[in-house]
């Protein structure tokens, strides 16, 4: 039932409201005299240079792809975990095959050094 999600929507509304209140209260009650220097991003007292958004090494892409894969794997675990007691050993075997095939990929990745940063 969608009404089951009422607590989640309450949480959403509260978190949005609280963050808005925090932003606006500090603006309302605190002094506000902006200068170019004050508005510039703080970089440990150094002159800021370059763009804030930099190119990142391709290694991060590998991490992101691996994260997606394990994420999808968890998604398959969820509905299975709800019922696996009813199916006893058979349910465990079905997930075992699924998990074993994934572990082949994981062990390969580990051996090749896919989990090393350098």
């Amino acid at each position: 039932m969608p009404s089951d999600f009422a607590p989640i929507s309450a949480l959403l509304i509260l978190s949005v409201a609280v963050s808005l209140i925090i932003v606006f209260i500090s603006r309302l009650l605190g002094p506000f005299h902006p200068t170019t220097r004050k508005l510039s991003p703080y970089e440990s007292g150094m002159q800021p240079f370059g763009e804030a958004i930099r190119r990142i090494p391709v290694k991060f892409y590998r991490i992101a792809v691996l994260f997606i894969l394990f994420d999808v794997e968890v998604i398959f675990f969820l509905p299975w975990a709800v019922v696996f007691r009813d199916f006893k050993l058979y349910g465990l075997a079905v997930m075992g095959v699924f998990f074993f095939v994934l572990m082949i990929g994981f062990v390969y990745e580990w051996k090749v050094g896919g989990l090393e940063w350098d």
């Binding site: 999808v72 019922v83 998990f99 990745e109 896919g114």
Partner: protein, 193 residues
């Protein structure tokens, strides 16, 4: 038309989805587009909840917002210079607009009895209270049972693991190609070719 809580929530999430979607394609900073895409996907998750499909909503948050949007942002941050482009360079506004209008008209014609009035039969989807049937409340349990049932999705479920394994190996090979390949290009140090 009286406004129920459900229709109000639908309006909020519909506006969130569409508004963030418009910002995705009009934002001048590609990085911001990626963030707006997350917002739009979140609106879709809310719509899934309204459609009594909480499982899909959860998957939407975990997989799409949690993983795929992150992958898209990482891919944006890999590209040189794309984050610095300050002008829109889409020159296919007209084609996109035409496609959007056509899809919208088809949807309207399916949902409303418009085509029946013109005389085309079997075009209207004919939605009523009981058709399509409401999603079962224990959809999670049903999905779990059918995932391990050989008559339903057991085989696709196992094949999915092969697909995931292939993607895992592909990701590793893509980023650091195999050592054998490296040695064929660059000879190891201290050796004469």
């Amino acid at each position: 038309m009286d406004i129920t809580i459900e229709s109000l929530v639908f309006l909020i999430f519909g506006a969130l989805t569409l508004g963030a979607g418009v910002l995705v394609v009009t934002s001048r900073n590609l990085f911001h587009s990626g963030l707006y895409l997350m917002m739009s996907l979140f609106g879709v998750a809310g719509l899934f909840v309204l459609l009594a499909a909480p499982l899909l909503a959860g998957f939407q948050v975990v997989v799409y917002i949690g993983a795929i949007a992150i992958l898209i942002i990482v891919a944006i941050m890999l590209t040189p210079g794309l984050t610095q482009i300050k002008t829109l360079f889409n020159e296919q506004w007209m084609v996109n607009l035409a496609a959007a209008v056509i899809v919208f008209l088809v949807l309207v014609s399916v949902i409303t009895p418009l085509m029946d009035d013109v005389g085309v039969d079997n075009w209207n989807a004919d939605f009523t209270e009981d058709h399509p049937k409401a999603v079962a409340a224990d959809s999670m349990t049903t999905l779990g049972e059918q995932l391990v049932d050989p008559d339903y999705f057991m085989l696709p479920f196992e094949v999915a693991s092969v697909l995931l394994m292939a993607a895992m190996i592909g990701a590793v090979l893509l980023v650091n190609p195999g050592q054998a390949e490296d040695e064929s290009v660059v000879p190891p140090e201290g050796e004469e070719v």
